[in-house]
């Protein structure tokens, strides 16, 4: 009898944990990928405020939201009022050699490799649904 009770209790615990896990996975915010025509991978997982808190970037928007003029980085100027896709187009252009997909990938991965933190492999951001 004790065994049966324990079994029921454990099953209930496991059920609740998995339910929470499944629910919380649904809630993970992602990057807005609407500009891509036919995205083949799920939108990359990204929680802006949570990320910046963990990475301690709260004060300096320009670390990610950079400004380039004539292919030179303008220091201390930031571009958070623009969309990434306003400068980075779907295909490389003479003005901007870095297309949008590459811009996203490089922006995240290069920093994660340098800081030894954060996702760097395809499926760590593009989580299969």
């Amino acid at each position: 009898m004790m065994k049966l009770k324990r079994l029921i209790f454990m099953s209930a615990v496991i059920l609740i944990i998995t339910a929470f896990y499944a629910y919380s996975r649904e809630e993970i915010p992602t990057i807005d990928n609407i500009v891509f025509d036919h995205p083949q991978r799920s939108a990359a997982v990204f929680d802006h405020d949570d990320h910046n808190e963990k990475a301690m970037l709260e004060d300096d928007c320009s670390i990610c939201h950079h400004v380039y003029e004539n292919k030179k980085l303008i220091k201390d100027e930031s571009s958070e009022d623009y969309l990434c896709s306003e400068c980075h187009f779907l295909k490389p252009t003479p003005e901007n050699a870095i297309p949008l997909r590459m811009a996203f990938h490089k922006q995240c991965k290069e920093c994660h490799f340098e800081s030894n933190k954060g996702p760097v492999l395809c499926g760590e951001c593009h989580i299969k649904k």
Binding site: Q40, R41, A97, R101, M102, H105, K106, K109, H112, F113, N116, K117, V120, L121, C122, G123, E124, I127, K128
Partner: protein
């Protein structure tokens, strides 16, 4: 972990291709030296005409008689060899990585298509394993290492498939995927995978012998 992943997806790729290219050159010199030392009589009947005649005949699927005698094996073999190159070269995630590191970019196939083609490769390899066990005359010629080579080819495809679907242990799946791919590239010059380069020459040799000496077709 980040620096390890960075190493196997960065410098290790260069190291693998360097060993591959140097190995291929070394092996070609080695084979030429061996031929000159021990079999230099083949130069007396090597012929461009019979060489290319044989190579072209064997390039046409199901033209040679032996391919028509085992159509299932040769059919699977043709498809397998094509996909072995097409999938990795035109895979979206591979091209995306090349684009980021080398600014190289080309046509990519749809992920869903690549997924099915990968399964075809895995099932072809299963077929090759079963064939080596079941068909007596093939089993007679099979060594344990033959299964090893099939597994080495299977590993990057199986781990790539599992990683794409993110079934379990995603990070390790990608790590084994990358390392097994690099292992295969490194092994090409030094193992029977070298038939990738030798095939046209063995064909040319057989074609020349059949054409110039036996006055017969070799297909």
């Amino acid at each position: 972990m980040h620096s390890f992943i960075n190493f196997i997806m960065g410098p290790m790729v260069w190291i693998s291709f360097l060993i591959f290219f140097i190995g291929v050159i070394f092996r070609f010199f080695q084979v030429i030296k061996l031929v000159n030392e021990r079999e230099n009589f083949i130069y007396t009947y090597m012929s461009f005409k019979y060489s290319f005649r044989s190579i072209f005949a064997w390039l046409i699927p199901f033209l040679p008689v032996s391919t028509r005698k085992s159509p299932v094996f040769y059919g699977i073999s043709y498809v397998f060899h094509l996909l072995l190159f097409l999938i990795p070269i035109f895979l979206l995630s591979h091209v995306a990585l090349l684009e980021e590191s080398m600014q190289w970019s080309w046509f990519t196939m749809n992920d869903a298509v690549a997924d099915i083609l990968t399964l075809i490769v895995i099932f072809s390899l299963l077929f090759f394993i079963i064939r080596r066990i079941v068909v007596p005359e093939v089993n007679f010629l099979t060594k344990l290492s033959d299964f090893g080579f099939i597994l080495i080819v299977a590993l990057p495809f199986v781990t790539g498939f599992l990683a794409y679907h993110q079934f379990f242990a995603y990070q390790w799946m990608v790590i084994v995927h990358v390392l097994s791919g690099e292992l295969m590239i490194i092994l090409i010059p030094f193992t029977r995978f070298f038939h990738m380069f030798m095939a046209p020459f063995t064909r040319a040799y057989t074609g020349s012998e059949f054409g110039s000496v036996r006055h017969a077709k070799d297909w």
